[in-house]
């Protein structure tokens, strides 16, 4: 599904990713763990096409297609979704309007017909119910005045509605209490499927108790410093990132 080879990227003058390689097959969930400043968020932004993140070397492909040459919205239409660490507030645009605009833009880009208003609302009600969200929240301007937990839930709601193929979760557990974490994790787990892949970026092991990864990668100083099974996350929780930071 996702294949990253020898990826180098910089933000302004600073090189953040320094030869990162990663294979994420369809149907799998991989965790990326690492200390602050290792390049975790940079990786998510490079994969989703944020301006200001310049790739100087290497490649990233989704099912063989070069991701890096596509615009951010084209990547989204091909099924790349980023759940933001800090979701943005969009004053004046109701969440429903925003999401329906996004959904129809993606459909248009894929040559599919628009979703009807009734069909959209029906699906929105179902998904909101699964995530135990108040449906009226969707009528309010997107994320404006929402708590940290509500914003994260809104990210998962959008993800479930848009039904992407490659899901990137950037620090989705930050700002969540344990009850909200369980609901969000249930929402994410419900999306696991043989034709989807997930990249779960997190600083702490806690989230991985709820979203169980197939593989765990340690990102330190801009590259993958170690790869292992779920037990690696527990080892990091016990011993910290020191040895990887030193090795880098």
């Amino acid at each position: 599904m996702l294949s990253i080879k020898n990826l180098h990227a910089r933000v302004e003058a600073a090189e953040i990713l320094k030869g990162l390689s990663l294979e994420l097959p369809a149907g799998e969930v991989h965790a990326i763990m690492g200390p602050n400043g290792a390049g975790k968020s940079t990786l998510s932004y490079v994969l989703t096409g944020r301006q200001g993140y310049e790739v100087t070397q290497g490649s990233a492909t989704l099912d063989g297609e070069d991701l890096l040459s596509l615009e951010a919205n084209e990547r989204a239409a091909r099924g790349v979704f980023l759940s933001f660490q800090y979701p943005l507030e969009i004053p004046g645009v109701p969440a429903m309007t925003f999401l329906r605009t996004a959904m129809n833009a993606q459909r248009k880009a894929r040559g599919e017909p628009e979703i009807s208003a009734t069909e959209f609302i029906k699906r929105a009600r179902e998904v909101a119910g699964q995530l135990k969200m108040d449906f009226d929240m969707l009528k309010r301007p997107l994320n404006v005045g929402f708590s940290g937990g509500e914003k994260k839930r809104m990210e998962i709601f959008q993800m479930a509605m848009l039904s992407p193929r490659l899901l990137i979760l950037d620090e989705t557990d930050s700002g969540l209490d344990i009850d909200a974490l369980k609901i969000v994790a249930d929402g994410v787990n419900a999306l696991r499927s043989p034709d989807r892949a997930m990249l779960v970026i997190t600083h702490y092991q806690r989230l991985l108790d709820y979203i169980r990864p197939d593989r765990v990668h340690v990102l330190a100083a801009g590259r993958i410093a170690a790869t292992g099974g779920p037990e690696l996350a527990h080892e990091l929780e016990r011993e910290g990132y020191d040895k990887y930071a030193r090795a880098a």
Binding site: T48, G49, R50, Q51, E71, A72, N73, R75, A76, A77, F81, L82, F84, P87, L88, E89, I90, P91, G92, V93, F98, L99, T101, A102, M103, A105, Q106, A109, P141, Q158, L162
Partner: protein
């Protein structure tokens, strides 16, 4: 120095120029080299106008000549009415001016759907309006200016409020070659309330100037002002807002916000927000920001699949939406919303 004086006297030297402090960003003297011929009286059909068939009555002013009953602007005690007031410039390369007066008796309620319509190119248009509101009268004035790109248009309204009167105004414009929409309010306080909103969406080489002055002369008055602008290309927006709280006008509550988005390197906004406070016990606040569209929000929308142009348009429309949401008359609010969607300059 006014355009109307210049037109009446056929004297270029009467035009306001950059030497006049209040006109330094909307220089007419430097722009107009020759006064055009007076606009002819025309009888042509001028179509429905931007407010369609809203309201109960229409007062048309074409090339400065009134068609209809000026009595529509005089409301008796307790009377309520919704009137479309249309200023149409219909003949190219000509100039015209008009003066109108409205009077609202105690408790009267006028909703005025006022439009400036450029149906020809290269005209000079001037309108001078005066409104007198007696005790407890209420005026909601929604101004929608769609002048021609080559037109020059000035509208100056003076509003005289009695205690307990209420003025709610929203001015919407996409500019002209030069355009100034000015409102001056004599505010007596004593329960009188003013809302003085505006939005400008200016692209190409257009120029829009929203100038307001509210003078609080008595105690216990409120003024609430929200003006937003979006300027693209080589457009220019001017906002001059002055709220004066005179000596003794205690317990005045005055709030002014002006926020503009610049969408290109050559776009320009000139803002002069002024709160002049000569009383002690007042609650006054103002905020003024000019900046670019939020790149983080733009990326967020694009990550969800919305193409850049559409995302920009959505965000700018939402930005202006805050002003439009405050329009009370529902039909006019929907017209304004459609106007902002059509003219989104993202």
């Amino acid at each position: 120095m006014t355009l109307s004086l210049a037109l009446e006297a056929r004297d270029l030297s009467q035009l306001p120029s950059r030497r006049d402090e209040d006109w330094r960003w909307t220089d007419l003297r430097g722009l107009i080299r020759e006064l055009p011929a007076p606009s002819p009286e025309v009888s042509a059909d001028v179509g429905p106008g931007p407010f369609g068939d809203l309201g109960e009555a229409v007062l048309l002013v074409v090339n400065g000549k009134v068609r209809g009953d000026l009595g529509l602007l005089n409301l008796g005690e307790g009377e309520a009415r919704v009137v479309r007031l249309r200023f149409v410039s219909a003949t190219a390369a000509t100039g015209h001016g008009v003066k109108l007066a409205a009077r609202l008796a105690p408790g009267a309620h006028l909703t005025l759907l006022e439009s400036y319509e450029g149906q020809a190119a290269d005209y000079l248009a001037d309108a001078a309006l005066s409104f007198q509101l007696e005790t407890g009268a209420r005026l909601e004035r929604i101004v929608l200016a769609s002048d021609d790109a080559e037109g020059v248009s000035v509208s100056i309204a003076t509003v005289d409020l009695a205690p307990g009167a209420d003025l709610a105004q929203t001015t919407l414009t996409d500019g002209a070659r030069r355009q100034r929409l000015e409102t001056r309010v004599a505010h007596p306080g004593q329960g009188a309330a003013v809302r003085m909103d505006g939005a400008y969406l200016v692209a190409d080489r257009r120029h829009a100037d929203l100038t307001t002055a509210v003078n609080h002369a008595g105690t216990d008055g409120t003024t609430d002002q929200l003006v937003k602008g979006v300027v693209a290309d080589q457009g220019r927006g001017v906002f001059q807002g002055r709220i004066t709280v005179s000596p003794g006008a205690d317990r005045t509550d005055a709030r002014m916000g002006h926020h503009a988005l610049l969408l290109s390197d050559r776009a320009e906004v000139n803002a002069k927000p002024e709160l002049l406070i000569f009383a002690d016990d007042v609650a006054c606040a103002h905020g003024n920001t000019v900046g670019a569209l939020d790149e983080d929000a733009l990326f967020y929308a694009r990550q969800r699949g919305i193409p850049e142009a559409e995302a920009r348009a959505m965000l700018t429309e939402a930005f202006i939406g805050e002003v439009i949401d405050r329009i009370v008359h529902e039909g006019a609010r929907e017209v304004a919303r459609a106007w902002a969607a059509e003219r989104r300059v993202g």
